[in-house]
């Protein structure tokens, strides 16, 4: 029970932090992760909402016609880039727990011209609201580290993938323990 309470506290901290921000890391951060050609495909407002830590789409080997799920889609940058690659014969799905992010991502996808084959669904990464074996590729960018139940997240990703389906996940790793003062700071669980 104590562990569950701790997990719930972390989830609350993360959701509150993400719900409270009014912009992303912006173009300076996006320039470090995406090529000029990729950024040219994105609405300026979407670039402003960059919050990722890598570029999973670059490595996902997406093909036209595939169904791709972006776990923790935020402002929609990676979902939009994936949608451009799978094209109108494919399907791009962004998953996020926050209504504010889902609304932003839908606006950005429409501005990018991919809204006809892109959808954003509300849900938790620990309980993905998609059927079994319904997705060809799962991407994610800097989100799984935020979950206190990472095995559950990976189990859900495994469930929704088709047999032979792929994952391409960018995420933070930390080799040496952070100082206790940092670990104890709530913002460090969301950042």
């Amino acid at each position: 029970m104590t562990d569950m309470l701790f997990q719930n506290e972390i989830n609350d901290v993360v959701r509150t932090a993400y719900a409270g921000i009014e912009h992303g890391a912006g173009k300076p951060a996006a320039d470090l992760l995406y090529s000029p050609e990729e950024l040219d495909q994105l609405p300026e407002e979407a670039v402003g909402w960059a919050l990722g830590v890598g570029n999973p789409v670059r490595h996902a080997e997406l093909e036209p016609g595939e169904t791709v799920l972006d776990v923790g889609s935020g402002g929609g940058i990676d979902t939009i880039l994936a949608a451009k690659l799978v094209g109108p014969t494919g399907h791009a799905i962004g998953l996020d727990v926050l209504d504010e992010m889902l609304d932003r991502a839908r606006t950005h996808a429409a501005a990018a011209g991919v809204e006809d084959w892109t959808e954003f669904v509300k849900g938790e990464m620990e309980a993905i609201p998609l059927p079994d074996a319904s997705v060809d590729v799962v991407i994610s960018n800097g989100v799984i580290n935020l979950s206190p139940r990472k095995s559950r997240v990976l189990a859900e990703i495994m469930r929704v993938l088709k047999p032979g389906g792929r994952i391409c996940i960018a995420d933070l790793t930390v080799e040496d323990e952070l100082p206790p003062e940092v670990m104890a700071n709530e913002a460090a669980w969301a950042g």
């Binding site: 490595h59 047999p163 792929r166 994952i167």
Partner: protein
């Protein structure tokens, strides 16, 4: 960042879930000054990180990695 795993632990978790052909690459260091670009890191947390994280680790507090794998057929 506080919830991030070590790279090997992350890879093991993916393998234990049953994924095959696990590959990790494209490592990007993330330091304090880069973290300051992200609004989720509050100014107080950035100041704290500048103060308590050793100088030789300020540029690489965490490392992002790309993990690729496949669900068995």
């Amino acid at each position: 960042m506080s919830g991030a795993l070590a790279e090997r632990a992350f890879a093991l978790k993916i393998e234990k879930m049953g994924f095959e052909d696990v590959w990790l690459g494209e490592r990007i260091p993330h330091g304090v000054e880069k973290a300051a670009l992200y609004p989720l890191f509050t100014p107080a947390l950035i100041d704290l990180m500048r103060e308590v994280i050793p100088a030789d680790r300020q540029d690489t507090v965490a490392v992002s990695v790309i993990a690729k794998a496949r669900k068995p057929l």
